[in-house]
């Protein structure tokens, strides 16, 4: 089937962008309850094929929507996007709603509190549609590591949606939510965005609170939006960004109006094309060509694009696979069956035996692998050789970016080296799976913001371009992404389901 025929002609309610829906809500063309119903109608139609959600919260969503409608009817001033339904990755804590991290060990865990980002979205009047599937504890690039179900890519149900925020991406791409929040530790928002034809952003480390976000690797994790276009991304980022006293690593940097830069002229902005990540090994030719074409478009918009080298980027993968497992081995130590979550029902001989059996039963293979690796690299005698060395390399990678940003306003490369792969295709080849993140990992190590923007198709499957910016310079990324988006229509395509 050719890519073009996958487009649908008439725009249905569930296909609108969040901003388009916002306008209809504000003009009272439709109600928030109707918007929620549209999501659930769509879910009824496609969810058995997509399997994006681990848990649906219809009653809660309708309740929130009714409140928004009532307040709007009474003439109360509401946040602009009030009433636009949202999906949350299932590692964002939701008060009274199961939060499983797609792991058996938290299958029965119901948090007594909301993550800060959930609280902020709630206060802004966004009804929660449900909790989206993911790779267990955000470890993976295909959402195949979920303990509960495999999510399909709405563009080709035989293929993965990417990961680890695959459920969030699939839900938005399939019209089962208008937008979603995911988390990104090594590419987990941007890569699924790329594979599902969405805009996805990993903000600067510290831009968004991590409170209530179940940790994978604390120094790399960041929450961000998955949306259908750049304006939606700007709107949702504006809702969740900002200092949170409950997260010491959140930054006290003022939050600008991210929509202000949309439409601003990009003439004269300098973009560095990352040589290693565009022409390097493993980048599929269709992906490269699509990104090159996008760069030509940016050129034609008046931007100055030239190549730049990030010499240490080739060490990102080993560096990441020391730091992330190290932090995860410690972060996941708390799942021991004592206070909450799964506890073994087998006979145990000691408390340590109880820990071991609980964790053996509760964690999947990939999680166990990373815990073991992380424990190893932190062990006495290996710390200096691995962990300390990785921190030094991380500094070098960061410096590469700092030097590049002395000459450029932003950097460009593909988001994912390939389009969506088949379910099961890389399941037995962990290295191939990890290579899916080579373009996105360095960004988390450097702590800078980056976003993926739809920039073409190959065999009916979406391709994403990654824009990378200076710390807290999300506005420039949004400005350029928006300018690009205006000159093409990739983002308007919807999968035929």
């Amino acid at each position: 089937m050719a890519a073009d025929t996958k487009e649908t002609i008439t725009v249905q309610l569930h296909e609108l962008t969040a901003w388009e829906l916002t306008q209809k809500l504000q003009q009272r063309e439709i109600s928030a309850v109707e918007a929620v119903e549209a999501c659930f109608d769509r879910i009824a139609a496609v969810e058995d094929r997509v399997k994006a959600y681990l848990c649906l919260t219809r009653d809660q969503a309708l309740q929130q929507a009714r409140e928004v409608d009532a307040r709007r009817a009474s003439g109360e001033a509401l946040p602009a996007t009030a009433g636009v339904p949202i999906a949350y990755k299932d590692l964002l804590c939701t008060d009274g709603v199961p939060t499983t991290c797609a792991s058996r060990i938290l299958a029965n865990f119901v948090p007594p509190y909301d993550a800060t980002v959930v609280e902020r979205c709630s206060q802004a009047g966004l009804p929660m549609v449900g909790k989206a599937n993911m790779d267990e504890f955000a470890m993976g690039s295909s959402t195949e590591n979920s303990a509960f179900q495999i999510t399909a890519n709405p563009w080709d149900l035989e293929r993965v949606p990417g990961g680890s925020s695959g459920g969030s991406a699939a839900a938005v791409a399939a019209g089962e939510a208008f937008w979603a929040l995911g988390t990104d530790t090594g590419g987990s928002i941007r890569q699924p965005a790329s594979l599902c034809n969405l805009v996805g952003m990993k903000p600067t480390y510290g831009r968004v609170s991590r409170y209530g976000v179940v940790a994978y690797a604390s120094s790399l994790d960041q929450v961000g939006p998955l949306t259908r276009d750049v304006r939606d991304c700007a709107l949702l980022l504006g809702l969740i960004a900002g200092r949170d006293q409950r997260d010491s690593t959140s930054a006290a940097v003022p939050v600008p109006d991210y929509t202000e830069v949309l439409g601003r002229d990009v003439t004269g902005l300098r973009a560095g094309i990352v040589r290693e990540l565009l022409y390097g090994e493993g980048i599929e030719s269709d992906v490269r060509e699509a990104v090159e074409a996008a760069i030509k478009t940016l050129d034609s918009l008046g931007m100055a694009c030239e190549e730049v080298s990030l010499p240490h980027s080739e060490y990102s993968l080993p560096c990441y696979y020391i730091i992330a497992p190290a932090e995860c081995s410690s972060n996941l130590a708390r799942y021991d069956g004592v206070r909450y979550g799964h506890r073994t029902e087998r006979e145990t001989t000691s408390v340590y035996d109880m820990f071991a059996k609980t964790r053996e039963e509760g964690f999947g293979d990939e999680v166990k692998l990373r815990i073991i690796k992380g424990t190893y690299v932190l062990s006495a005698g290996y710390y200096d050789a691995y962990y300390r060395k990785a921190l030094q390399v991380r500094t070098l990678i960061k410096r590469d970016f700092e030097q590049a940003f002395e000459r450029f306003d932003l950097l460009i490369c593909p988001t994912s080296p390939s389009v969506a792969f088949r379910i099961g295709e890389k399941a037995d080849d962990p290295l191939a799976m990890k290579l899916a993140d080579i373009c996105t990992l360095p960004i988390n190590l450097a702590g800078i913001p980056a976003m993926s923007v739809p920039c073409g198709f190959s065999g009916g499957l979406p391709i994403g371009m990654q824009l990378m910016g200076k710390p807290f310079d999300e506005p420039t990324l949004l400005q350029v992404a928006y300018a690009y988006e205006q000159s093409c229509d990739w983002h308007r395509r919807r999968p035929a389901l």
Binding site: C93, G212, V214, S248
Partner: protein, 474 residues
Amino acid sequence: MYEPIVGVEVHAQLTTSSKMFCSCRAEFGAEPNTNVCPVCLGLPGSLPVTNRKAVEQVIRTGLALGCEVGTLCRFYRKNYFYPDLAKNYQISQYDEPLTFGGRMELSVEGRPVSIRIRRAHLEEDTGKNIHLPNGRSLVEYNRCGVPLMEIVTEPDFRSAAEVREYLLQLRRLLWYLGVSTANMEEGALRAEPTVNLRDPETGERTPKVEIKNLASIRAVHDAVEYEIRRQYHCLETGEPMQQETRRWNEAQGITTVMRTKESAEDYMYFPEPDLVPIEPEPEWVEAIRAALPELPQARQQRFVAEYGLPEYDAQVLTEDRATADYFEAVVQACGEPKACSNWVMGDLQRLLNESGCSITESRVSPQQLAELIGTIKDGTISHNIAQAVLPKMWATGHSAREVIAAENLALISDATEIEKLVDEAIAANPKAVADYRGGKEKALGAIVGHVMRQTKGQANAAVVNELILARLNG
């Protein structure tokens, strides 16, 4: 000849009202698992936020111990599995502690001893496992996350007596700084000495032994003494020794093996990624330094120099800050430092003990005690009567002069009144008068005694003597 090498690690719970990384209350003795929240229970997604007050208390203590304050201080995760540790890692410090490189000067059996302080840093306390007779275990998390200060010395102690003196001085210092109740029975202060022996000539050492389960300073002293003896004994008999942790058995007065080095854990320390490093601003550190109270050792020396008190009095009075403050308030109101010291350490302390009050709760204020001492000085009452007046002041809350007036206890010093009584006494004791006149000076006592009996001891003894002599010799 081998000599003992001892170092001490002390954990002191801080007196902050809230826990180290959350806003739960840090009080002792609440209902189990009531002072808990997602953060100290380590629920998924929760994050720690540093209690600045706790950081300040450690800096305060570090400064009082002569430590330097770090310019970049980090928290680390100490990873190990145990049910009372909600996250299965403890947030502690490793490299880059808050304060380091201090010293404490001691006087032990008349000798000066200098102990180097390696570091004073900050960490969170763990919860508590409770093992039931039926084999089940419960976990209590109220204490989990309470701020804990760790103070580590260099191995500078050479005897158990030195360790005891250090702990006494350290406890007094913590009280003065108001940073810890330092109550060992409640576990607010825990001391773990490390003991081994060294040959100063060859540098040869016995393996290090750490001692745990010490519930009092006396227990620490006894355990260290025992362990030193045990290791000498092993050396002599050739009994093998190994690096291990031993438990003090208070009842039997011995240490027994708890775990050996082979089973010791690898804590996999790494920098806590959920917390940003602490960079104490110099202005803040200087403000903390400026606000330090006069420290106990300095105050003790000043009490000797300024008030002329014996060393013993100065030490007892400066044992805690409130007693020293009380004493100085009394002195300020009436002078007479030695008398004040006697009253505070003696009669007042007895009343405090009987009523179970601390000195800050004393029902007799320093000003009232000063007034009482003044009434002895000006001859209004005798010391003996004053000792009877104080409990009445305590009971009624009245001032010394009010009690004296109400109970008519003032000494009779009025000569005309006493003259009358003297005349009566002379008339009533002709034999004593005759004896005195016959050269028996002692016979005077019977006449004086008569006057005192008549006045129930309230006649001013000096005036009575003078008047009797004037009559008999006149």
